[in-house]
């Protein structure tokens, strides 16, 4: 089995979000970039397939040279090879078209992407990718088992879980649940050393249209002061929620 894990390079979850250049750009100043958490679960699941089922695991990212530190990390965790498509990820459709090209050329059976990137929260790359490639697709995937070409998967639905049967070739939008939190891997020294010798292939993007563009950003309005209610006067809270906030 040949697996491609798609990795987006995102600000660490503790990052403060600021905008620059007249609020037209995300301010990367002082921001630490990491593997998108949803992709980290997928990558760890891919490592399981590598170790237990002899899968070959490649990772791909659409991004500039600054994203290489993040993909090196994926190599240190255990991916065999990395591909960087040398372009800024302008919009989800554009990114999916680039990745589709990589998948077509590489003959992958399974593409593991994340449910969404935690930065722009597009949540569209895996679905577009699957459709461009005419592959099966499971989103919000929380469990994935593969025997031969047969796939058993679970996906999170609103208020529950759905069990799905499908087959390779497949694209998933993965998330927490694919592996346990405690099984997530951090690169060790040996992994980091080995990663240096692994191939990181840079390919140029194909021409693709840009369907959406973020023109301007803004931060949420600052929150007003909290109204504190005395623990001895709970009725006051109920009155406030009923009369002032009008939510009960």
């Amino acid at each position: 089995m040949k697996i491609l894990v798609c990795i987006s390079n995102v600000p660490d979850t503790t990052s403060k979000i600021n905008f620059t250049e007249g609020d037209t750009k995300f301010d990367t100043n002082g921001v630490q970039f990491v593997i998108n958490p949803n992709d980290e679960f997928g990558l760890t699941r891919a490592m399981w397939f590598k170790e237990k089922q002899d899968a070959l695991v490649h990772v791909a990212t659409v991004g500039g040279p600054q994203t290489e530190a993040t993909i090196r990390k994926a190599l240190a965790i255990g991916a065999d090879e990395a591909i960087r498509i040398n372009s800024e990820p302008v919009d989800g459709f554009f990114v999916a078209r680039q990745l589709a090209e990589v998948v077509k050329n590489g003959g992958y059976d399974l593409v593991i992407a994340g449910r969404e990137s935690i930065d722009y929260n597009g949540g569209m790359v895996p679905g577009i990718l699957a459709t461009l490639l005419d592959m099966n697709f499971v989103n919000t995937c929380t469990n994935l088992e593969i025997e031969g070409k047969e796939v058993k998967a679970e996906r999170e639905i609103d208020g529950g879980v759905e069990k799905i049967s499908t087959s390779l070739p497949l694209v998933i939008g993965g998330q927490k649940g694919l592996v346990e939190e405690s099984d997530l891997r951090i690169p060790n020294m040996r992994g980091i050393m080995m990663a240096r010798k692994k191939a990181l292939n840079v390919v140029e993007p194909i021409d693709a249209p840009i369907n959406t563009k973020d023109k301007k950003f803004e931060k949420p309005a600052p929150k007003g002061q909290v109204k504190l209610v005395d623990a001895g006067n709970i009725q006051e809270l109920i009155d406030l929620l009923h009369n002032e906030a009008k939510v009960i």
């Binding site: 958490p37 459709f93 990718l129 459709t131 609103d158 405690s182 973020d214 623990a231 009725q235 906030a245």
Partner: protein
């Protein structure tokens, strides 16, 4: 030319988000000077959509569509969009709609923008406001493609009445057996209870509850309020609560009208996922807990004393206001 809204239903009954996307669709149609067509799949009483400004309903009834299938449903929406020469397609932010949105975007070569929180700011160029960076910011996004897909963030636009009389038309899309590459084997879902995705009120608790054995009062509080229950990430990592209840930046987003956080410190990743909720109440025994800075109302106190009292007082309130 028209605006298409995909109105979701369950067991024949429209979901609340169906009325919200219909309301949003009405607004967009007004801006564009056109009409709203709703697509319904196996829903009953489809004429009800007229109340929210839907001019026409394409009503699909087909046993093959009994269970949700993203690709097949996306194909039905695409066919409806082509039939109506739709320029804009409006979806909700449910798990199902998010599942099919990418497929639909690829089928129609459309520009798709999810998590949209308001009516379009302009229609030429077509600009919408959406959340980004897990609610730590907003983006004003321009859609350049001819076909535009908008995912409306739950509870952001609201359900707005605009009664018109909806013309109902039976619609029989082509259903291709080859599109059933993924099959639903089993659906395990809580019934008769609000879910985090569509609840007006969410009661959420964190590590301050000390252990899973103490969740009885959280569930009781949720019951009294008709609320869904949720939790912080460590609580689900510890196995105290199911993964599906974990809310926050790496869990489910919450956009309820009321969010009650009990024994949750208010870490940045938690706040990011719940900040779209309109009113936030925090109950925490540490006055320095960061969550108080993000809350509308707060009680500094021990959850084990405050919550039981709150339940009692709410029961009385509910009895009086029933």
């Amino acid at each position: 030319m028209s605006v298409i809204v995909y109105t979701e239903s369950e067991n024949g009954k429209f979901k609340k988000n169906a009325f919200e996307v219909a309301s949003y669709g009405h607004k967009v149609a007004q801006l564009l000077g056109t009409k709203v067509t709703a697509l319904s799949i196996n829903a009953d009483k489809v004429e009800d959509l007229g109340k929210y400004g839907v001019d026409k309903v394409l009503a699909v009834k087909d046993a093959k569509l009994e269970t949700f299938n993203a690709k097949v449903y996306a194909s039905c929406i695409a066919q409806a969009a082509k039939k109506e020469s739709a320029q804009v397609i409006i979806l909700s932010s449910s798990a199902d709609s998010k599942y099919l949105s990418g497929i639909l975007a690829a089928m129609l070569n459309a520009g798709y923008v999810p998590n949209v929180v308001a009516a379009p700011e302009s229609t030429s160029p077509f600009m919408v406001k959406r959340t980004a960076f897990s609610n730590k910011g907003f983006a004003h996004t321009e859609i350049n493609a001819d076909t535009k897909i908008i995912g409306v963030s739950n509870n952001s636009f609201g359900v707005v009445e605009n009664t018109v009389s909806a013309q109902v038309e039976t619609f029989e899309p082509n259903i291709n057996d080859n599109d059933f590459g993924t099959k639903s084997v089993e659906v395990d879902k809580v019934v008769g209870k609000a879910t985090i995705a569509d609840a007006d009120i969410v009661v959420s608790a964190g590590r301050g509850m000390k252990g899973p054995e103490n969740w009885g009062m959280i569930e009781e509080l949720a019951d009294v309020l008709g609320a869904a229950t949720a939790c912080s990430k460590p609580v689900s990592d510890l196995g105290w609560r199911p993964h599906g209840e974990h809310v926050g930046q790496t869990g489910k987003p919450v956009a309820s009208n009321l969010y009650i956080a009990i024994g949750i410190s208010g870490a940045i990743q938690h706040l990011a996922g719940v900040s779209a909720s309109k009113t936030k109440v925090v109950i925490n025994n540490d006055p320095e807990a960061p969550f108080f800075k993000a809350a509308d109302y707060g009680i500094v106190g021990d959850a084990f004393e405050v919550v039981p009292q709150l339940i009692e007082k709410l029961k009385v309130f509910k009895a009086q206001n029933a």
